[in-house]
Amino acid sequence: MDFSELKLITNRMRGSLIEMSHRAKGAHLGSSLSCVDILAVLYWNILNLDPKNPTDPIRDRFILSKGHAAAALYTTLAYRGFFPIELLETYGKTGSCLPEHPGRFCVPGVEVATGSLGHGLPIGLGMATAARIKKYPFRVFVLMSDGECNEGSVWEAAMLAASTKTDNLIAFIDYNKWQATGRSKEIMALEPLKQKWESFGWDAYEINGNDLESIYYTIKSAISNTGKPKIIIANTIKGKGVSFMEDDNNWHYRIPNEEEVIKSKMELGL
């Protein structure tokens, strides 16, 4: 899909996310808004996936390791045709198949349960290793948050993926510079992040993670290189797309009121 068309979809997805947060009183809106562009590029232009055959054994795997952005994943899957968009209205409600953190196959397209940080990269490494053993051609994409890199298990997986040269594993860090209660580079010594991953034996890239073309061309370039796992450090803006939410960490937990929903949608041209 061309980038101007994809841009329109990301605006609509952001509109849905804001409505979902308002309706369900669901937190983590800022975290969802920051990663929409990465999800859009992956699901429309990169992943080898068929929404009509979501359990195809040789499908590419995507893991939303930052499970608190579940709404962003659900919105992506819905707009991509894995299930009806109307189902998003049930997000976060009692008995809904769209809980605030995703369960495995809670809807078609969700590969594993996430919500506790530091699990997605090790699981992805397992999937990528299984692909090698079974001679399946699929790739595994994992999206983590910057705060998630506090978890030791991320670095356990990083070391093993490098020693096993698992090059069908492509990870992203949604580097929106915030974690729940503060600046991510201040709470723990995250920087220099790119060099950290390089020193762990990964091919590392750093991009504007809210720029669709930059995301796409970087992934294309990364997957053409072999012999190493890859990490794409995506510099993003928390709350991207809505002026009064951007880079304001109150929106990690804050819920938009009705007036803010209207104002946000106007900004998004909806």
């Binding site: 699990h119 090790p122 699981i123 999937m127 079974k134 997986a157 093993l160």
Partner: protein, 306 residues
Amino acid sequence: MRNAFAEELTNLAKENESIFLLSGDIGNKLFDKYKENDASRFLNCGVAEQNMMSMSAGMASVGMKPIVYTITSFLTARCWEQIKVDIGYNKLPVIIVGVGGGLSYAELGPTHHSCEDIGLLKLIPNMTILCPGDAYEVRALLRAALKHDGPIFMRIGKKGEPLVHQSIPEITIGKSLVVKEGNEVCLLSVGNMLPSVMKAAEILNAKGISTQVVSVHTVKPLDRESLQKYFSEFKIVATVEEHNIIGGLGSSIAEWLINTPSSKAKLICMGLPDLFHESLHQESAREKYNLTPESIAERIINFGNN
């Protein structure tokens, strides 16, 4: 038990190409033959149990049969959340094999003791807990585990435990195994206590107390149907386990029993006290905590006299 595990796994891996062994930097020589068969299905994951556990879940989700192996204390407590979420919640068929259950590594000190593993894993929905009683049960349960569609924790001892069975017994996961029949006292043995429990039964039988021995190789799910039978047919039912008295088979049965008021038998729970244990050899530990055959028999007799 661990040699039987390695040998059986090596044989099974020749027939089943989905088997993949992940090891936490132990058992190097133990798995030489396994690796001779197919080194590509072995991975030393290093001293990084959290990653190893989550990896196994990822592999199982792609249709492999991962077996995760290291020392029980590091394989359960350290990565409990990975087991809960990635394996339990996702309901993936990973076989977690912990070597050195209970006080198998008693002399190594409390960091290496594993007296809470059954209790910890019992709390995870979808989890099946297997405790083989000897090397033959290890082989039988490993075969059964590979056919099971769900998470499994198998707690094995170390090496050199006495054999109880003459050959590989027929075993069904979830159904306890009567090893010796009797009609007054029923001893429910968990895992590596089986040889001692057999000897305790000999002592009791010699004293004219007809004693049955059951290997409760599946601690979860509870074999409620058989328990109903044991508690209605015997005067005394006793659980014997090398595990904290809190959280093991005894406590599972006590919880079940309180909702089963018509039971005839009295329950005795034998296990380890709720303590960190000093470094001492397994045999000395069993003496100290009254888990030798003589002590087990004596506790039954004393209970019967009161």
